[in-house]
């Protein structure tokens, strides 16, 4: 079985500052990795995903993430955040062997302040 750990439940940051949201996973098999964003009172929206190939993945809204197999991490980064990035961010994994079950982390609340 796989699991996802998001150590930071909340990350406050000033507007235009860089941010990194941490995600570590555990799995006995290869996985695909995802980041979703959830704005207040809305569903989850896919930010980016890693399937294979280049370990640096670029997503929507200027976000990117880097897959590090040796550290089993998939941290999300943005060089300059905006007020509108305030939201909950979820990291998720899915086994490559079949099926479509996503296992989510507990989420990180990003709060961008002026």
């Amino acid at each position: 079985a796989q699991s996802v750990t998001q150590l930071d439940s909340q990350v406050p940051v000033f507007e235009e500052a860089p941010v990194e949201l941490r995600c570590n996973y555990s799995s006995s098999v290869s996985v695909y990795l995802f980041w979703y964003v959830q704005y207040p009172n809305q569903g989850l929206q896919l930010l980016l995903k890693y399937l294979s190939g280049s370990t640096l993945v670029k997503g929507i809204n200027g976000f990117e993430a880097e897959f590090n197999k040796s550290q089993t991490s998939f941290h999300l980064r943005k060089p300059s955040v905006h007020i509108s990035d305030t939201a909950e961010y979820f990291c998720a994994v899915r086994e490559t062997g079949g099926g479509n079950k996503l296992t989510f982390g507990t989420g990180t609340q990003l709060k961008v302040e002026l």
């Binding site: 996802v4 439940s9 569903g43 995903k49 490559t96 079949g98 079950k101 996503l102 989420g107």
Partner: protein
């Protein structure tokens, strides 16, 4: 725009009174999922339909049932809601299962309050 729609957005029910949550999709996807998300917790998969095939997660309580009368609609039935069932319920769809690039598309969720 193609999308996943959930109604109602907020639902209040009484302890023990059956309640049904609705999900519809215009994406014509084969797979529909129901997740439960309690406050400050990760979304947890309850079950999914692949076309008409129902797939229940092993730890989903019997109190939770689902129906999919056609491709577009899927319902979540809670037969006897308890206080612990208060949560956000998320519906999601995907075109297929198992393909590497498969993405799940989520609706806005229904927040259930049990009094």
């Amino acid at each position: 725009d193609a999308m996943v729609i959930q109604n109602p957005r907020y639902q209040v029910t009484q302890f023990g009174k059956p309640v049904t949550l609705s999900c519809s999709q215009t994406l014509n996807h084969n797979v529909m999922y129901w997740y439960q998300q309690k406050s400050s917790q990760a979304p947890k998969l309850l079950f999914h339909y692949y076309d008409k095939d129902f797939n229940n997660e092993a730890d989903t309580p019997d109190n939770f049932q689902s129906r999919r009368p056609n491709t577009s609609f899927c319902f979540l039935d809670i037969r006897s809601p308890g206080l612990g069932d208060a949560a956000m319920y998320l519906c999601a769809t995907s075109r297929d299962v198992g393909s590497p690039g498969e993405t799940q598309y989520f609706g806005p969720g229904t927040r259930l309050l049990v009094l």
